[in-house]
């Protein structure tokens, strides 16, 4: 749930800062701007977050704080142990216990077992919304491709990678929803219950008459 998401975020920031420090010592503000830039601007950090993380890293012996320079900025340097950990991090796969949108799974799991709930409708609603989302993402992506690469091709690449990830994730969810719908239909056929979608279809047809009028 929310805690898992937060934890994931926290870990990502920690490793990200360590990875940046392998390039050389940096002071806090610089770390923050580098991080934001390289993640395509999709992940703004606040300074407090940065310094908290640096403190924890120092506590764990992965970074070393240095003397303040003339302007009073404290630089940080990665330790040998820190480098080793970063190497490990590069080469190990990201653990998969986190699952965003698990709220949807809970919702559907409960809907199927709680009587009187129109599961097909839930599925359809979610599907329409996800598809709209997907359309939006696709439009965004077209916008990226259309406009010429401006300042930093590196950050544009990062941005489109992130975008693609979102698109594929949305698609994965939609596929799963299709699958759920199919399962529900087969279950209904097997137990002889009438599928509940009939009057939904009629409702939609009625709506179609209003929204998709034939000739203007």
């Amino acid at each position: 749930m929310a805690g898992a998401v937060v934890k994931g975020h926290v870990m990502s920031v920690r490793w990200g800062i360590l990875a940046l420090l392998t390039e050389g010592p940096m002071y806090g503000a610089r770390i923050r701007s580098e991080f934001e830039q390289r993640t395509g601007g999709t992940w703004p950090l606040n300074v407090g977050q940065v310094y908290t993380t640096l403190a924890r890293l120092e506590r764990d012996g992965l970074v070393e704080g240095q003397e303040a320079d003339d302007e009073g900025r404290i630089g940080y340097r990665i330790t040998r142990e820190g480098r080793r950990q970063v190497e490990l991090w590069w080469t190990s796969p990201v653990p998969r216990e986190d699952s965003p949108r698990s709220e949807l799974v809970i919702k559907l799991a409960l809907a199927v077992t709680v009587p009187g709930v129109d599961v097909q409708q839930i599925v359809q609603n979610q599907r329409s919304a996800s598809l709209s989302h997907l359309q939006d993402l696709t439009r965004l992506k077209r916008g990226t491709q259309a406009s010429p690469a401006g300042n930093d091709s590196g950050s544009d690449l990062a941005w489109s990678l992130v975008l693609d990830h979102l698109i594929f994730t949305a698609e994965a969810e939609l596929r799963w929803l299709d699958h759920v719908e199919g399962r529900l239909q087969r279950e209904a056929a097997r137990s002889g219950r009438r599928p509940q979608h009939d009057h939904q279809a009629h409702d939609h047809q009625a709506r179609d008459h209003e929204t998709e009028t034939v000739v203007r």
Binding site: R127, L131, Q135, D136, L140, I167, H197, V215
Partner: protein, 247 residues
């Protein structure tokens, strides 16, 4: 990206369209009183499980099949009651098909495939050269590709040629039946981009697909089940909101 708002009449209108197969015990309602309009500049996607009637919808829209009741109007003309010769003329001049694969006549070059509907209409090969060149250009293919045979082209190139042919000359309506089904991810995306681009330039497109990612290229997505429309999805507008929702 703004649509080109073209003429008021939608390019394709399906009006209370029904299609019933068989009779008696074997009756199948492939489509039930479908209403749909596709305007110039629009790309509409149709999704649904197998047996939902997607392919039937496309066949009826392209006058490959006759409906049991209802009308199909292409550029304002009712094709439902047309005789075979007139229907063939509609296919030559107004509607183009893109199938999943085997779109091209193997014994014609790419350029000849694109010019096929024009030549069937009686155009001389010389006269077709310019529209063909424009069509190939519009789908991002250079002139040399035109002289190759389909067997010498990649899947993506073949589908581009098919799209070019579907919109060559005066044709404005493209009906695509899972055009990316036989292509890998990257090429499939490219083809969708081409389709989208053509629609932005003024074509009207009706696309049957089961890939949500490709349906994402459409302006509107229609969901079919058991021959009826159960829902539709349209994209929301704004970008800024998106940025925030991710973080």
């Amino acid at each position: 990206m703004a649509r080109h708002a073209e003429a008021d009449i939608p390019v394709l209108i399906l009006e209370k369209l029904s299609r019933i197969h068989g009779s008696g015990e074997l009756t199948v309602h492939a489509l039930r009183r479908i209403n749909l309009a596709v305007r110039a500049g629009e790309l509409i996607a149709v999704m649904g499980p197998s047996g939902s009637g997607k392919s039937t919808l496309l066949n009826l829209a392209g006058a490959l099949d006759k409906p049991t009741s209802g009308r199909v109007l292409i550029e304002g003309e009712d094709v439902t009651s047309m005789r075979p010769a007139a229907l063939a003329a509609v296919r030559r001049r107004k509607v183009g098909f893109v199938f999943q694969d085997f779109n091209l006549v193997p014994s014609l070059t790419a350029a000849e495939n694109v010019s096929l509907p024009l030549e069937l209409d009686g155009w001389s090969p010389r006269r077709t050269r310019q529209p063909v060149a424009e069509a190939l250009d519009a789908v991002g293919l250079s002139g040399q590709v035109g002289d190759r045979y389909p067997s010498e082209l990649s899947g993506g190139q073949q589908q581009r040629i098919a799209i070019a042919r579907s919109l060559v000359g005066p044709r404005r309506l493209v009906l695509a039946d899972e055009p990316t089904g036989a292509l890998d991810t990257e090429t499939g995306d490219q083809i969708m981009a081409v389709l989208r681009e053509r629609c932005d330039a003024g074509a009207a497109g009706l696309l049957v697909t089961h890939e949500p990612r490709h349906a994402g290229w459409a302006d509107r997505v229609i969901f079919l089940r058991d021959g009826a429309v159960i829902d539709s999805a349209e994209s929301a507008a704004v970008d800024e909101r998106l940025m925030r929702s991710i973080g």
